[in-house]
């Protein structure tokens, strides 16, 4: 199992879908952000798994994963800053209450 690419990929897929579910179901902006982190980690798992099993990706996968992590960090920074900004305006972190603009 641990030597089977499919096992890692299935695990990655399940983690990704858990993240997707959370993103679709949670109301809190920060919860949703966490779910995005889960999804990105799922992708990283997949990338590293490919790196382990596909020779031409050997070293590359690790680098890509590191870069993805950095991007995730950047995303989190921006996201949290926006969350804080809107919290100042609206006094709630619940995203579904931000629905002044619609239709």
């Amino acid at each position: 199992m641990s030597h089977n690419l499919d096992a890692y990929l299935v695990l990655s897929a399940l983690l990704f879908c858990i993240g997707v579910f959370g993103f679709l179901a949670r109301r809190n902006a920060i919860s949703m952000l966490m779910c995005i982190e889960l999804m990105l980690n799922a992708v990283n798992l997949a990338i590293l798994a490919f790196g382990a099993f596909v020779p031409s990706l050997h070293g590359n996968a690790a680098v890509i994963a590191l870069i993805v992590m950095a991007v995730a960090a950047g995303e989190a920074t921006v996201g949290l800053a926006i969350v804080i900004a809107i919290y100042r305006n609206r006094r709630t972190p619940l995203v579904d209450e931000y629905a002044q603009m619609r239709d």
Binding site: I67, R90, M101
Partner: protein, 495 residues
């Protein structure tokens, strides 16, 4: 690195440096926004010159082992991106200043975003593409939120951010599948691997197709194609108006650049697999965008839906590429159509938003269409310019928008399969769209101004920017021959 390599990478580096320079200048002389404007505008102009200088004569120069490549496509798009930056910087002060938002961070963030777009245009490595995309959108989220004391702006920003990150994750997942399947991150490598698969006559593996689906979803989101467009109206409406203008062209065209590099280059061998999806997306996008735009009362929201519709028109060009055999004139016409349309759309749409921004020169003026009442009388020149931009958006000759539509339609007609029908859908949509664009004209020219109508601003930068947008809109329409060879050369670079 060799000299030509340095030259090739120079524009990107230059823009990043420019962004940093803006920040540094602000630190050196805090509060002097004139400096920011001067550095921003002159800097982008110099950048434009740099792009022209290094890209002149159709140079093709790979750098970083081919991960980055200067070619006519890069040049074409970079010019466009810098023009967008230049105009956006011109349009912004009138809106931001009265609302007490600082300019330096704004300009720097914008330039970072533009650098991301320029990176996309040159990237021939999927990881670099992804990074370029992130570099494009992260500052974008912040620009939307830039009016941070405004509830709607931050609402738009968080929606944009959450959904954008969501789609980025999906897109990245798709990239991972592609990497796993082809074992490479290079555009050329992916293309040649896929070409082998297609040539060998195998049915593409499910994993690859799934990756394709994930990537399609990701980029469809970025270009705001229906049904992945949901963020657009809210983000556009919420953004500070100059940012809306930027959003409607910058990230959209950059995302199309991504599509050209990814789909029209890396995934081109599989075009038979994805052309159907593009056709459906194009049809849906045009139709829904226009349908909903018909019923809007807020001009920014209306133009948001209109920009969705224009995404659909640009997708027609992409579909034309995908529906035609590789290397055919039709395929290259499709790409050239995408590029030409992008260029035309840039000027007319930015112009339209600039007029909205000019109207909102004082805090408290909303972007309801009713704000335009009697504009033709209150500010005849501004009204006439808005008329021009709206006509161009409608596609009335002899404006840029008309020729752009004609271009993609001509390309679609040359293509195969169901694609020619998109031409018919496109024109029916164009007729429908005329209704809401002309509705604004009705308000501007055929209604009396409200009693408490505010004066419009016309600072020198705003005027200059509007003039440039208008001249470009007319010029591209009247003498499309100026732009076509460039678009064709850029398209040829992809083949």
């Amino acid at each position: 690195m060799t000299g030509p390599e340095l030259a090739a990478i120079a524009p990107f580096g230059y823009v990043v440096a420019l962004a940093v320079l803006v920040i540094l200048a602000d630190i050196a002389r805090p509060g002097d926004e004139r400096v920011t404007i001067v550095i921003g505008t002159l800097g982008t102009l110099v950048g434009l010159g740099l792009v022209v200088a290094v890209g002149l004569g159709g140079t093709v120069q790979p750098v970083f082992g081919g991960a980055y490549q200067l070619d006519p496509l890069t040049t074409f798009l970079d010019m466009l991106f810098l023009a967008i930056a230049f105009l956006t910087i011109l349009f912004s002060p009138d809106y931001l200043r009265p609302r007490h938002y600082p300019l330096p961070e704004y300009v720097a963030t914008l330039l970072f975003a533009i650098s991301g777009a320029m990176l996309i245009s040159a990237a021939r490595d999927l990881l670099v593409l992804f990074l370029g995309l992130e570099l494009l959108v992260l500052p974008g989220y912040m620009l939307v939120a830039y009016a941070k004391r405004d509830g709607l702006a931050t609402e738009g920003a968080i929606k944009y951010f959450l959904l954008g990150s969501f789609s980025s994750a999906i897109f990245l997942f798709g990239l991972a599948f592609t990497w796993g399947y082809t074992g490479t991150t290079s555009v050329a490598g992916v293309a040649s691997h896929l070409q082998q698969v297609v040539t060998s006559g195998q049915v593409p593996a499910a994993g690859l197709l799934m990756g394709l689906a994930l990537m399609t979803t990701g980029v469809a989101f970025k270009i705001a194609a229906v049904p992945f467009h949901y963020w657009t109206p809210d983000a556009y409406q919420g953004s500070p108006t100059p940012v809306t203008g930027y959003l409607s062209v910058g990230p959209k065209i950059a995302a199309f650049a991504l599509i050209l590099r990814l789909f029209a280059e890396a995934l081109a061998p599989m075009r038979a697999d994805w052309v159907g999806v593009v056709v459906v997306l194009a049809a849906l996008t045009m139709t829904l965008g226009n349908l909903v735009a018909l019923t809007q009362d807020n001009i920014k929201r209306m133009l948001a839906y209109s920009s969705i519709a224009h995404t659909g028109y640009i997708l027609v060009g992409l579909a034309a590429f995908a529906g035609a055999p590789a290397g055919s004139t039709a395929a290259s016409a499709g790409i050239a159509g995408v590029l030409f349309y992008s260029a035309a759309y840039t000027f007319m749409n930015l112009g339209a938003f600039a007029v909205v921004a000019a109207l909102q020169g004082r805090p408290g003026v909303t972007s309801q269409i009713a704000t335009f009442a009697g504009l033709g009388r209150r500010a005849p020149l501004l009204g006439a310019l808005m008329l021009l931009f709206l006509l161009s958006l409608t596609g009335i000759p002899p404006t840029a928008g008309f020729f752009a539509k004609a271009y993609v339609i001509e390309a679609a007609l040359q293509s195969g399969g169901l694609v020619p029908w998109l031409a018919v859908i496109a024109v029916v949509n164009a007729a429908m769209a005329a209704f809401y664009y002309l509705r604004v004209v009705v308000v501007m020219y055929m209604q009396e101004p409200a009693a408490d109508a505010q004066a419009v601003t016309d600072s020198r930068p705003m005027r200059l920017g509007l003039l440039i947008a208008a001249v470009a809109t007319v010029l591209i329409g009247l003498v499309p021959g100026l732009l076509i060879p460039m678009a064709q050369a850029a398209a040829a670079a992809l083949q």
